[in-house]
Amino acid sequence: MSPILFYLFAALTVCFGIAVVANRNPVASALCLVVSFLGLAALFVGLDAYFIAVIQVLVYAGAVMVLFLFIIMLLDLKAETRRKPNLPAYVGGGLVALAFIAQLWLVLERYSAAHQPFPTMWASEGKSIDDVTNVGTTLFSVHNLPFQVIGVLILVATIGVVVLSKRELK
């Protein structure tokens, strides 16, 4: 991926991520989060991970955020009124963010793959990277057990939701 495109989409992702927090209107926040997800998907495309990018859009932007928006609209949340700035909370939040960035920096410094240059999109022209197959084989061979466990977990959650909603109806 061209560095220009990378910085463009990275800036898009980060800016709209900040906008999610800064916006007073919940609907605007949710939509900013959608744009942020789309930027993230573009970054995945830049890494030739088309499958992950498409799933990012399909699941997060297309389904999860639509439901979020749905709920926000149904609850008819009004824009937050401007409160007096709570200084300790601001400082605390900033510190947590800084600590996280520092931690990330330290980890990535020691991780050898992080020092390699970006894989270029055009270099893969000609040879096809079938990342769907890659993800599939990895999931069902190396990570088979965790995958099955997650499957059971989600099934349990689904049954739990059904039971809870049935009980409420009575």
């Binding site: 088309y50 297309g62 928006l69 609209m73 079938d130």
Partner: protein, 385 residues
Amino acid sequence: MDYLYSTDFLFLVGTSLAKTIFLIFLVVLPMVSYTVYAERRVSALIQDRVGPNRTGFPLSLIGGKDWSPFLGGLGQPIADAVKFLLKEDFVPAHVNKFYFWIAPTLSMMPAIVTLAVIPFGSTILGVPMVVANINVGVLFMFAISSVSVYGIVLAGWSSNSKYPFLGGIRSTSQMISYELGMGLSAVPVLLIAGSTSLPQIVEYQIHNGWMMLPYSNGHLGWGKTLLWIPIIISFVTFTISMFAETNRLPFDLPESETELVAGYHTEYSSMKFALFFLGEYTAMIAGSALIVVLYLGGYHVPGIPNGDAQGGIPILRHVPGLIWGIVNITAFFAKVAALLFVFIWVRWTLPRFRYDQLMKLGWLYIFEIALVNIFLTAGILACTH
């Protein structure tokens, strides 16, 4: 970085642009406007009426009416467009302006973007006729069409009025429900073709017969005949989900006139309304194109060679490939047009579902049938291979 300045890259950019312009401005947008015209004419013919038969070429009363009672009115889409442009663009005072403006574009754009991965022809002068050949084409279609729900939701919410709001809510829940069914319905095709790339699915169908016509390559086989059963089930559930996903009758609850005035676009007028309209019909074309690619062999016609003059009946290979490339594109859009006719035909036959029936159909039937169908397909594939 060198690649960015090479002639290969410029060639890629140039051909992609040419393909995009051809696809959107020369094929899809005219097709959209004439689908609207076809909608009106076919509905009229089905209901024993005549339909718009006046606006001919030149744009006058004379038209084509005298020489053929069924070809007059071909200028109607142009008249419609002029009308949309000249009407007052009214924005009610109570709307949320920013989202009210952005919603029509958000419903139009995803529909156009999905067209990027559709292989609408084989090759012309060696250039493959698909704008973006990515290996997750099917998923890309689903992902982008799932984004198109934002336009409708925002239109319903920002209009700040009860009918659009109800329409928007209905549309959201309907699209989320049927997306699952649609995705799962398509899985058997992906299993059989062994790929999620749309050009490769078409390639598979050229060599092994169309999904819906397994003997079209001239070879009989038990495995194929067995696989026909899940494919037909998958085709039916996929088509039903596609109707629901594009908000077509019998699933047009988001804009049901009898109870919601016009649903999410009640407050819209002029070109903003036209954008919703165009978005809906573009989505219909994209959906039909996906059905053609997945089940009806894409651009392939049995016996006709591809754009490199390969395959097909040997004697036809002497004709230059360029001609066959054009024939392939024509075949593809002919298939799409035939499917659009079916869309219209169904619309003017079936009454609207009730909302609980719609949800029940989506969650209790389509979803389950599609799920079982995947196992059936996998079983048959495991047994026959």
